[in-house]
């Protein structure tokens, strides 16, 4: 095992499917024993990148080194050190919870005693004891997800890939799930998780925002929010639709997005007095609204980062707050 502090390193990692460039020259440096997030809309290349990193897809270009192993050449050597939770539930629905775990334990060559102990431990940790003899197909979304994570961590991998693990579960299950991830990181596991939830992305130690196959921003979530390349102006008022129409026409406004009863407008840094500038514009258009500078949220970072490419209605971010 390498003593390198970096678990995953890629240079110019690219994958094309025919004409489509799914992943476009991605450079990554994911530190060990941390949660690293891929945040991006559907089709931004999150799953394709993960699949290249675990050897399921061959890169069209570029290099990837995972736990010091060259991918995809050393894919087989990585298997034992790797846990992978696929986007869709991929355990056997007609096997019971215990049978699924036993099967994988045997595939990973755990000894009988070790297997029994490990399965008992996992059933307890993921609150699946009462469900142990139930068929996996009859579990709820949250239970399936816990089982999938239990299965992915059964052989105590050094590295865990989670591809949109929480897309089919309720908020409480999501919180519990993240608690489990933090416990794993404390024990030294490196986790790479893809998501399109802002609140989840915010929990990661490091983050890469992907858009159309490219990394458009990366760093710790706090840094990304602090260093956002735009001023965030919050607008409250009765007629938000009218306000939005007015602001969207201004050249210095990068984007306007509605967050509940408010609008967030991202204004170019070059504008000295952004709140005043917008207030003036609204006033002259006779739209009644309160305008104030606000702290950037991760969603603002996301919007600012993904709007750099020419606007394209099909590529509108499918992101849930």
């Amino acid at each position: 095992m390498s003593g390198d502090a970096i678990a995953i390193r890629t240079r110019g990692l690219t994958r094309r499917f025919g004409e489509l460039v799914a992943v476009d020259h991605v450079d990554l440096a994911v530190p060990r024993a941390a949660i690293y997030g891929f945040l991006g809309p559907n089709g931004s290349g999150k799953s394709t990148t993960i699949r290249m990193l675990c050897g399921l897809l061959v890169p069209s270009e570029g290099e990837a080194e995972v736990l010091g192993l060259h991918m995809p050449r050393d894919a087989e050597k990585l298997r034992r050190k790797l846990g992978y939770m696929t986007q869709a539930f991929s355990l056997y629905e007609d096997l019971s919870v215990r049978e699924n775990l036993e099967f994988l334990g045997e595939i990973y060559s755990l000894g009988a005693a070790q297997r029994r102990a490990r399965i008992a431990e996992l059933l307890d940790e993921f609150a699946l004891e009462a469900r142990a003899e139930q068929r996996a197909g009859t579990l709820s979304g949250g239970q399936k997800q816990r089982l999938a994570l239990a299965a992915a961590t059964l052989h105590e991998p050094e590295l865990l890939f989670l591809d949109e693990p929480t897309s089919a579960v309720d908020p409480q299950s999501r919180r519990d799930f993240w608690e489990s991830l933090f416990r794993l990181v404390e024990r030294g596991t490196t986790i790479l998780v893809s998501t399109h939830y802002m609140d989840e992305a915010e929990r990661c130690h490091g983050l890469a925002i992907l858009d159309r196959g490219r990394i458009v921003a990366d760093g710790a979530p706090e840094c990304l929010m602090r260093d956002i390349n735009a001023s965030v102006v919050e607008i409250e008022g009765r007629d938000l639709r009218a306000a939005r129409d007015v602001l969207a026409r201004l050249a210095e406004v990068q984007s306007v997005a509605q967050l509940g009863q408010r609008l967030h407008a991202l204004v170019d840094r070059s504008v000295a007095e952004p709140a005043g500038r917008l207030a003036h514009a609204l006033e002259s258009a006779r739209v009644d609204a309160q305008v104030a500078l606000a702290r950037a949220s991760l969603e603002d970072v996301f919007v600012a980062a993904t709007r750099k490419q020419p606007a394209d209605p099909a590529g509108a971010p499918d992101v849930r707050a």
Partner: protein
């Protein structure tokens, strides 16, 4: 009225959608034209109830010119092709048991004397009675008007048939005796190929495969593990069919049961890998079913289960030699009906072993632990 119109338009919408599905599934689209075309041409040529060119052996104990003429005449009917010449009746019978010939002609030492007598048959036809169609074809030979050219002048009024027919292995000519052993092979083919044909595609369709290929499991381990349980199922099926044959239909097993089971094992492995190969070619379970079906019909029709192998033109026979079922039918009939040993049938055992080896190698090579 309006409701009826709406109903029709919904039917039309569904029908249009079905056509779109079909046109986008290239395999199914291809089968629409391909299956009737291929099967009609293949079976139109291959299936022939009027059996000719049965492989035959001759034991000529008289060594006379007249005997040679008789054999020539028999060959001239095109019902038999003499491919083997034996020194003794025993050697001829051995050939029959081993399935190398279906008809044996025994010409006794006193052939010329019998010919002059005219009230006795002159020679014997030994026939593998395991196949009723072969038996019927051979019976046609018994009334051969041969042997008359040396007595061109006076033709006796009452003449015995030239050949006396001796049907081996099914003297009572009961149909189950012929059908049941063959059914073993057909039933195993139909069930086992399907089991494994969907084995890998199913995991792919359900998403299990993406997880499985990121584990340390090796491709050969996956393939052998997939096949193993069905070998046992195959044995259970064979046992069931043989028991039914024995106790319900009264089909005795002449040969060695151990040899039969050993031969069955090789066949089952071959049939399962055929399915496995299909599983690596198909993208969906439905496609796997279609492909399996396409291999069923030629196997059932050309393997010798329904029509005698000897009656088919050589391209059909070559094709049939590829199928595991063809070889297994010879093995199972050889052992059950004729009491042959597995060693005597080795020329049908090694093609099965070869098929298994090639098919599993191709399946392993085709399968990648990747998604692209």
């Amino acid at each position: 009225m309006n409701a009826l119109a709406r109903s029709f338009s919904r039917i039309a919408a569904i029908a249009r959608k079905e056509f779109r599905h079909l046109s986008r599934d290239r395999l199914t689209g291809g089968m629409v034209a391909g299956v009737p075309l291929m099967m009609t041409i293949l079976f139109g040529y291959a299936i022939n109830q009027d059996v000719r060119h049965l492989r035959a052996g001759v034991a000529d104990l008289s060594g006379t010119q007249a005997a040679r003429l008789l054999v020539q005449d028999a060959q001239a009917t095109q019902v038999i092709d003499v491919v083997y010449s034996a020194r003794s009746v025993e050697a001829l019978e051995r050939q029959l048991v081993e399935g190398r010939i279906s008809v044996g002609i025994v010409i006794p030492a006193d052939f010329e004397r019998r010919a002059l007598d005219g009230t006795r048959t002159r020679a014997q036809l030994l026939v593998d009675g395991g196949d009723p169609i072969v038996l019927a074809a051979a019976r046609g030979l018994t009334s051969l008007a041969a042997g008359d050219r040396n007595a061109a002048g006076a033709r006796p009024a009452a003449r015995a048939p030239v050949f006396e027919l001796r049907a081996y292995h099914n003297p009572e000519r009961r149909s189950p005796v012929h059908i049941v052993p063959g059914l073993c092979g057909v039933i195993l083919t139909l069930t086992l190929v399907l089991f494994t044909a969907v084995a890998i595609v199913r995991e792919r369709e359900r998403g299990n495969l993406e997880l499985l290929i990121t584990t340390p499991v090796q491709t050969p381990e996956l393939m052998v593990g997939k096949i193993a349980p069905y070998v046992l199922i195959g044995y259970a099926q064979v046992t069931l069919i043989l028991l039914l044959g024995r106790f319900v239909f009264g089909v005795p097993i002449q040969g060695n049961l151990l040899g039969l089971y050993a031969g069955t094992g090789v066949f089952v492995a071959a049939a399962l890998t055929l399915g496995l190969l299909i599983s690596t070619l198909a993208q969906t379970q439905f496609q796997a079913f279609q492909m399996a079906f396409v291999t069923f019909l030629p196997q059932v029709l050309l393997s010798g289960f329904m029509f005698p192998f000897d009656g088919m033109p050589w391209p059909a026979r070559w094709l049939a030699e590829v199928f595991p079922l063809t070889h297994f039918l010879r093995i199972v009939r050889g052992i059950v009906l004729r009491g042959a040993t597995l060693g005597e049938l080795s020329r049908d055992v090694w093609p099965l072993a070869l098929f298994f080896t090639l098919a599993i190698s191709i399946a392993i090579l085709r399968f990648r632990k990747r998604l692209d």
